[in-house]
Symmetry: C2
Subunit: 419 residues, 2 copies
Amino acid sequence: VTFLTTDHQSLTTPMMKSVDEQLEILRRGTEQIEPADGLRKKLEKNLKTGKPLRVKYGIDPTGIDVHLGHTVPLRKLRQFQELGHKAVLIIGDYTALIGDPSGRDETRARLTPEQVEVNAADYLKQIGRIIDLSKAEVRKNSEWFSRFTFLDTTSLAGRTTIQRLLERDDFAKRFKARPESVPIYLHECLYPLMQGHDSVAIQADIELGGSEQLFNLMMGRRLQEAASQEPQVCLTMPILRGLDGDKKMGKSLGNYIGVGMSADDQFAKTMSLADEPMKEWFTLLTDRPATEIEKLTDPNQTHPMEAKKTLGRDVVTFYHGADAAAAAQANWEKQFSERKDPDNIPEATVPAGDVGLPQLLVTVGFCKSNNEARNRITEGAVSIGPERTKLTDPKGTVKVEDGLVLRLGSKKIVRLRIG
Amino acid sequence: VTFLTTDHQSLTTPMMKSVDEQLEILRRGTEQIEPADGLRKKLEKNLKTGKPLRVKYGIDPTGIDVHLGHTVPLRKLRQFQELGHKAVLIIGDYTALIGDPSGRDETRARLTPEQVEVNAADYLKQIGRIIDLSKAEVRKNSEWFSRFTFLDTTSLAGRTTIQRLLERDDFAKRFKARPESVPIYLHECLYPLMQGHDSVAIQADIELGGSEQLFNLMMGRRLQEAASQEPQVCLTMPILRGLDGDKKMGKSLGNYIGVGMSADDQFAKTMSLADEPMKEWFTLLTDRPATEIEKLTDPNQTHPMEAKKTLGRDVVTFYHGADAAAAAQANWEKQFSERKDPDNIPEATVPAGDVGLPQLLVTVGFCKSNNEARNRITEGAVSIGPERTKLTDPKGTVKVEDGLVLRLGSKKIVRLRIG
């Protein structure tokens, strides 16, 4: 897999790969391919005809900071590009104009055409860090939907049923919610049909999306069949978990890394990643082979911190290049070592049990009087423990434990010993 | 109620009536008025402003033979006209163009604009027998829907939810059908919204419909409220049962009387009406006061056949005038008396039990030989019993019962006696 570079700026002329070689690359990290043998057939057709596969990815121009979670399908799209296929980006500008006529959802406020234009340009600029925009086909769905009449719309609506729509996970959940069903507005039912019709309009061979998109992607197949087109193959990617290793990466949860962040920020945030999702991140955010990832995520073979540094370098290299990645690592290491407690910490013997904080500061010799101690506490100079938890209550007490480290400012440090 | 004529051609200048007088006329035979006090308020507003109420009735131009069942709401519309209000007929020409894009329903085949035009003209001609078209406002809903964009359509769709739509009786039934749910296509969900928007477009004060229309009528209220209009009052009329007194009147069931039928046909068919629905027919198809209907439908006060003759005259008078009604009754009575068996029927004594039909004809003296009998049977000349059931099988047998009447052609008749 030598040509699969992690430096996005160097998308070179694709090498011809066999169907099996392409399948190995494309299947890596995917969640579902529908139908299962569809991708192979499309690739075989491509080899026979020489016509690149048209690989669709839809974008919602509602104003988004693109983060690593978004890049999972985008990186797959880039792989298709690297294999010589055509990335077709659909900007859902017409969908964004609809907003939420029910007035129910503030996040789906109806956007003006100007806002949509600005958002779309901003979004493209961001994802230009992942795919090669110069080789992509970028289409807006207003191109076809602005010409739709009421008749065209009802004709589209006639392609699906209430029953089928209620099979979609989010609709099903809202419909079955108790004690009260959560309203599903009728215009929302048109969104999957719009997304499906986009596939008809651009004659997609493949559509990429997150795993929650499978229903909408399958709608594309249905509508293409109704339009006598060869239906697209649906390829879904797993949802990336955020830095907490628990929830889906998202801006509102603060557990994300933005593609527009500085090299230092991206590296430091990667270093704060929980251990558990590391394998998933390596798989979905780097091109490292599975065997290597196995070695990197086995604590007996690689120390988790070293593995995380490798991950951090990979992430930063992709967005800022190898030099910036090395520099970001050095910066992080320097800060980390500065924050480290010195090897030899002076010790002080104190009685066990609860003790008033000002008195403790006097006992260990940090302050000359309770009064001075209270002032330092109030100004936030006192911290405790490995997390350097700040203690700011001058009336507070400390439960003394053997080995507990107490700090005053950045210079004074002492390890407590029970005497 | 002298001015409430049953002759549709003489709609005269309306007399000013008080709200209570109008309410008495308008409430007669209605099933539901929603909201209950709404009609009174609208009538009071009309008296105050002098502006006639706009009373909407929607027509589906899919090619219909208008029958008495359809006339129930149309007669109510005529009453509004007689009281000086404005009938507004909506021809759903745009709705008819949609048809059924799912290809599921042959009766909702997509019509061409030409077909819609022909059907609409034919329909108007037919209902011109019930309401005064010269005083009605006739609108086609293509007037507004042909200008709808995709955005307008989704905006309309956003006014309702899947949950609310599934409250509509027919949708609810299909959704809950077992063992398999019956598909509800998404375009069907747009129909109630279209009907509702028609009310917005013409600023309806009242909408009339059959009882199964209540959901759609209420949608009009909702959409008018959303458009800051005073919502319409919904007035539903009961469904008329057909000649069998059992099922809803309908062409496919053959239990109907068409408004375009001849006076003779209308009268004769009314005479074949079951006794049970007579009161309902008097109430919904004539203007006779309730006290009179009570008398007509009480078998102790009026013989059912006499009541039915009155009903038949009323029906025919409305469509063909009083003279034609009298003539139709006379024709029917003549035929009826001709069909009656003579007072003195010759008798013939035969053995009890099953007997071959040809042999029976010879025994009673109708035929000279079994051969002649078989020929007459084959040509359909033999009938039996009060229903004059034809017997056409020369190998058939008859179970002889005392008093059974046997006929050959229209002249020979005999009553069998067991000997």
